[in-house]
């Protein structure tokens, strides 16, 4: 009986509805909507601060204020690792970390935040986490001039490695996308996980060397050192610092760590997200 319906449908050119397209077609279709992702990121970024006087400037101000608070606490009050380049070290860490945590939380919420759109229009759902990451990337790009000024102010020379900085940011963007894709499906599957977002972000903040240099902490436990070295966020921060700060180095090892994590998360994230395509907006 099922076969006859299949045949009958096929004979008249009917296709099944409510099944996800093949991965290749899916990505192609999403690529065709790239303008949508881009416009949505622009508009939602603007609307997020629409009711404030400073508007989009908040996306620059908040990470800056955060850097100042951490600078005050860890640089001045605790003063444990005070070194001449602590300020650019910290600002690089906070600004880039803001992008990672933003991609994580905005990605996780990108499905539930757009329920109205999901319930009425069919489009490849992947454009929602993509647009969430693009919005975070725009925020990051907005803070970069400050980062450059801070780096220059503490060390009046520009390193040759600075040429690699755009590559670090490009790779970081793809890493953020991978994180967002996995987070967005996880929170759809298990809604409780959305409650853990701030918690996970906090842990990641503490273990990624945002405000301290693990090499100067004097940890000699090989397991902790190894785990730290394999932490992709720390790898990204180290790469960015290496291109900006005189005393830091860009190492091949960190490129490998950052690159591998990005590749794995992006491929895994895309497939994982796609496999639940027909479920988004079900509730």
């Amino acid at each position: 009986m099922a076969d006859t319906i299949d045949e009958y449908a096929g004979e008249h050119g009917l296709r099944r509805i409510g099944t996800r397209p093949r991965l290749g077609n899916y990505i192609a279709e999403a690529w065709r909507r790239r303008e949508f992702s881009w416009t949505m990121a622009l508009l939602s970024r603007r609307s997020r601060h629409a009711r404030t006087r400073l508007g989009v400037w908040w996306s620059v101000l908040l990470p800056l204020l955060q850097s100042m608070v951490y600078g005050l606490i860890f640089g001045v009050l605790l003063g444990s690792h005070r070194s001449p380049d602590f300020i650019p070290f910290l600002v690089t860490g906070v600004f880039l970390f803001t992008f990672v945590s933003g991609s994580f939380s905005a990605g996780a919420l990108s499905i539930s935040a757009n329920a109205g759109l999901l319930r009425s229009i069919n489009f490849p759902r992947i454009v929602l986490p993509v647009s969430a990451v693009v919005e975070q990337l725009l925020n990051l790009l907005g803070t970069l001039p400050i980062l450059f000024v801070v780096a220059l102010a503490f060390d009046l020379s520009v390193k040759v490695e600075f040429l690699l900085f755009p590559l670090v940011i490009a790779l970081l963007a793809l890493f953020g996308l991978g994180v967002a894709l996995i987070a967005s499906r996880l929170t759809v599957d298990v809604r409780d996980l959305s409650k853990l977002i701030p918690f996970v972000t906090r842990i990641l903040f503490y273990v990624s060397g945002v405000f301290y240099n693990p090499e100067r902490l004097g940890i000699d436990n090989p397991i902790i050192v190894g785990a730290m070295e394999l932490n992709p966020v720390y790898a990204f921060l180290s790469l960015a610092r290496g291109t900006l700060i005189a005393g830091s180095e860009v190492t091949i090892f960190h490129w490998i760590v950052a690159g591998s994590w990005t590749l794995v998360l992006l491929v895994l994230g895309t497939v994982y997200f796609w496999r639940a395509e027909e479920r988004y907006g079900n509730d």
């Binding site: 449908a9 008249h12 296709r15 099944r16 509805i17 949508f36 629409a50 079900n282």
Partner: protein, 258 residues
């Protein structure tokens, strides 16, 4: 599927069931407010069968009215035909992806009407450039020119539904599902949208119309499906089905238990 119709099928709904899994608090609102009244006893997963083994085939040129009391599964069935809701079992086939128009929340509540038009159109697959050209026409169709720069969250449900319909009608759809979406507009808007619907139908489009208004169903549909508790109770001639439906509704509203 025993008798093969010679007409060309457009939509086949084959033994579709949809079950919602919801968290029940295990506590009734009117339950005792004693020692355990305020504390949810056990939150349990509860399965609700919204659509049960529904099958039918829609042929080219048909306009299907869908009727049934609240909670009979009309909207759920329509959303699964549109591919917006995963079915539990069964399959839906269609000649092209159906478009659903339903009353509901704003698309993007914090964005203005104009931005919603832009994004809605781009989600449908239009380019940014072509949407820039169409914004005014769509706003005009919705009759919302003066409010187009206000955030959509400030719209009344009628205004929001008008905007959503205006965005969707911008594209020619082969299969269109309208779930009460026209009931909220004022008379002028209804006339405009009914004219547009006739136009779409003339282009060999298939239209599903979910409505509580027997009059508008009789006026626009040439086949009516009556859903009751998730199952098809009757399927056929509009006059016959709506007549039976009316009699049934009258009988339960006069029965002593209600």
């Amino acid at each position: 599927m025993t008798k093969r119709d010679m007409r060309k099928p457009v939509v086949i709904v084959d033994d579709v069931s949809v079950t919602y899994t919801v968290y029940a608090t295990g506590k009734r609102a009117r339950g005792r407010l004693g020692k355990d009244g305020l504390v949810a006893k056990k939150s349990s997963l509860r399965k609700i069968r919204a659509v049960e083994n529904v099958s039918f085939t829609v042929y080219e040129g048909e306009t299907i009215g869908v009727i049934g009391s609240n909670g009979s599964g009309k909207s759920t069935l329509m959303r699964s035909i549109a591919g917006l809701l995963e079915v539990e079992s069964g399959r839906v086939f269609a000649s092209s992806r159906p478009t659903l128009l339903a009353v509901g929340a704003a698309l993007m509540p914090n964005l203005s009407g104009e931005q919603n038009i832009m994004l809605g159109g781009m989600a449908l697959g239009y380019t940014r450039a072509s949407m820039t050209n169409s914004v005014d026409t769509i706003a005009q169709f919705a009759g919302l020119e003066e409010f187009i720069d206000l955030p959509m969250r400030t719209y009344s449900s009628g205004m929001a539904a008008r905007l959503r319909f205006a965005i969707a009608q911008h594209k020619d759809h082969d299969i269109l599902i309208i779930d009460e979406a026209l009931a909220v507009g004022d008379k002028q808007f209804r006339n405009r949208s009914e004219a547009r619907l006739r136009e779409m139908r003339a282009q060999a489009g298939t239209v599903f119309l979910v409505s509580h208004s027997i009059a508008s169903i009789r006026e626009t549909c040439n086949r009516v499906i009556w859903l009751d508790k998730g199952k098809i109770r009757m399927d056929g001639d509009p006059i016959k089905v709506t007549q039976a439906y009316k009699e049934y509704m009258d009988s339960i509203s006069t029965s002593p238990e209600h």
